[in-house]
């Protein structure tokens, strides 16, 4: 019985047996010499089931947000599952250091399914050409890209509530030679502390790092930056005044939900950059406009 991503989301009880049977069938195919090793087959099947649960597809119903997998055609979804199974099987074979069959060898085995098998493509090395294949590469991208760097700067600036922690981070950045970033931060926040008299510096640094980690992974920070850009871009001047007005619907566009926009606006209000209390249209004074522009200023 065929099944789709939609079936797994809404009719798990009916479609789970078919998912298990299908993934197990493919796992045995890709496990080669380990095909009849029940433990190894379970490892592969379990990995795929766990993945689908963690992305909240299995039994997710209407509550779990839709993902890219929901938009795949059935054929694409099976290709996706096949690839997951194949990669995990290779992983298991590598762990057991057994020779792996290339796709070509599998084809030579004359499997009757081969003509239409979507996986008869060259098996590439693990993650060779995936962007950000390692975390270090991603970190470099984060500090090189303007908008992500802006987020980093905004998060560093939030440390100004704890001047010793901010000072500890600034010292670190100066030692790294990140003078430009330090200058940008110093332009936004005043800092009069003399680092030479700050005691327990490593402790302050640890606390600062923890705060930065949280801040960078917080959606509201990112949303706030994105919204600050959009408000200043899409705001229209009211006739006869210097005020800007922006209907919040115009901020959603294609990639932000209304809820996300509201979260971001609340964040900007808390930061003292807006006076938004849930109205449909945001009104900005020239001073607020200037602050918002600086909020994004790179």
């Amino acid at each position: 019985m065929p099944f789709s991503a939609n079936d797994l989301r809404y009719h798990l009880e009916e479609s789970y047996p078919a998912l298990c049977a299908y993934v197990q069938h493919r796992a045995q195919r890709y496990l080669g010499q380990l095909a009849f090793d029940a433990f190894e087959t379970d490892q592969v099947v379990g990995h795929v089931i766990e993945y689908l649960t963690r992305i909240q597809l299995l039994g997710g119903g209407d509550r779990a947000p839709r993902t890219a997998l929901d938009d795949l055609s059935n054929a694409q979804f099976y290709t996706f599952l096949n690839r997951m199974v194949q990669n995990k099987a290779i992983d298991r074979l590598r762990r057991r250091r057994l020779p792996m069959s290339t796709t070509g060898e599998l084809e030579e085995q004359g499997n009757p399914d081969d003509d239409n098998d979507p996986l008869n493509s060259v098996v590439e090395p693990f993650w060779g050409d995936v962007p950000f294949a390692n975390p270090e590469e991603a970190a470099l991208e984060a500090v090189s890209r303007d908008q992500l760097r802006t987020l980093l700067k905004k998060c560093i600036e939030t440390l100004s509530a704890a001047p010793r922690q901010l000072q500890a981070v600034i010292q670190e950045l100066e030692e790294l030679g990140a003078g430009e970033l330090v200058r940008e931060v110093r332009a936004e926040v005043s800092l009069d502390l003399d680092i030479s008299v700050v005691a327990h510096l490593s402790q302050h640094k640890d606390h600062a790092h923890k705060k930065l980690r949280l801040c960078l992974q917080k959606n509201s920070t990112n949303l706030a930056v994105m919204l600050a850009i959009r408000i200043t871009e899409y705001g229209t001047e009211s006739s006869g005044t210097d005020e800007l007005s922006v209907p919040i619907q115009t901020l959603t566009q294609r990639d932000l939900s209304l809820r996300e926009v509201q979260t971001g606006l609340q964040h900007l209000t808390r930061a003292g950059l807006l006076n938004w209390q849930g109205e449909e249209v945001i009104h900005l004074t020239p001073a607020q406009r200037k602050l918002l522009t600086r909020f994004y200023e790179e």
């Binding site: 890219a68 996706f80 995936v130 992974q217």
Partner: protein
């Protein structure tokens, strides 16, 4: 020393050092990853330390945005992107997702007619119990993660968590081996209690006289398992199917008369005799097909007093489920994983 006086600034080198600093900052948290994948057959319902419900489900959308060369991908998914730098588990999932999604979305991906042709007579009855136990544990773990995430964000995802727990219960009824079924639902009571803390109905607090009964999974007579014949249970028909309850050395049963579920307790302590009891079934709200007497499964008042011999027979609620049906009995048995009894003054 100012970098303005050392010739051309080494922008790439500076970025590299800053990138290294950022990586160390984000990866500096204690490692939250398990080195080995969770094998099927192991207990997995403690999904948690290495599962980040706020980020993991967004990975497929992020991977798709990168594959479609969306210029705003990194900005839109910045929190996830920063998270991936410091979380090996989510980073690995990103790599897997990107690769599989690329295969799925590639133009030369041929329609998987192999798959579409794939015919299977698979049903839950033929699905390995191990796979069912695994899924039940994952769903309960997922419910726990959803509740914790909602708690952190001051949100309310009780309905979602409840749906996941119900799904786990529904699936578990197809596991015919009692010990495996018990394993599948090991954390059900605990996770259910997490969401029940925010419900309006109050669960009576435990007192010194409170007795807690648990269902002896798979031990009920009639359908399978042992037949319990005790003199004090003789009031029920010989072949009546039941769910056996135990609290220390005290025993009880739940039987069915028509559509009514009947609780029978025996040998109750002398301090409870001549009193009404308040019966609390913590998992009672998880299953809609039971219409509990009084409407609140956390506080069902016994229909009569505990007899002088320490016995009590009292109705609990009506249901269309049949104890004589193996799968439906399994479902009812789950409800009685925990049953508390409190004394009420006569």
């Amino acid at each position: 020393m100012s970098d303005e006086f050392v010739g051309m600034p080494d922008v790439q080198g500076r970025d590299a050092r800053l990138g290294q600093w950022l990586y160390q900052l984000l990866a500096g948290a204690p490692p939250a990853t398990s080195a080995e994948p969770i094998p099927v057959g192991e207990d997995v319902s403690l999904l948690g330390t290495d599962y980040h419900a706020a980020f993991y489900p967004a990975i497929p959308n992020f991977a798709r945005a990168l594959l479609q060369r969306d210029p705003e991908a990194l900005t839109h998914y910045a929190p996830l992107f920063f998270h991936l730098i410091g979380c090996p588990t989510c980073h690995r999932a990103y790599l897997e997702t990107y690769d599989a999604l690329r295969a799925a979305l590639s133009d030369d991906a041929r329609p998987a007619t192999t798959t579409l042709r794939f015919s299977s007579t698979a049903s839950l009855a033929t699905t390995s119990s191990k796979q069912l136990v695994f899924l039940c544990q994952l769903l309960i773990g997922q419910a726990r993660s959803v509740l914790r995430q909602a708690h952190r964000e001051h949100g309310d995802e009780d309905i979602w968590a409840r749906a996941l727990l119900q799904l786990a219960m529904q699936l578990s009824r197809h596991i015919m081996q009692g010990s495996l079924r018990q394993r599948a639902l090991r954390d059900l009571v605990e996770v259910a209690s997490l969401y029940q803390t925010s419900t309006t109905r109050e669960i009576p607090e435990r007192g010194e006289d409170t007795l807690t009964y648990s269902a002896l999974v798979g031990a009920g007579n009639g359908v399978r398992g042992r037949t319990v014949r005790r003199a004090e249970m003789a009031s029920r028909p010989q072949e009546q199917v039941s769910i056996e309850l135990r609290s220390g050395n005290l025993e009880g049963t739940v039987t069915q008369e028509g559509d009514m579920l009947i609780l029978r307790l025996s040998d109750l302590n002398i301090s409870l005799r001549g009193k009404f009891l308040l019966i609390s079934i913590p998992l009672g709200t998880l299953l809609e097909p039971v219409r509990w007497l009084g409407g609140n499964p956390y506080a069902i008042r016994s229909a009569g007093l505990v007899g002088p011999d320490g016995s009590l027979i009292t109705p609990l609620g009506r249901t269309d489920l049949l104890l004589s049906n193996a799968e439906e009995r399994n479902l009812l048995e789950i409800l009685f994983k925990k049953l508390d009894v409190h004394p009420l003054e006569a």
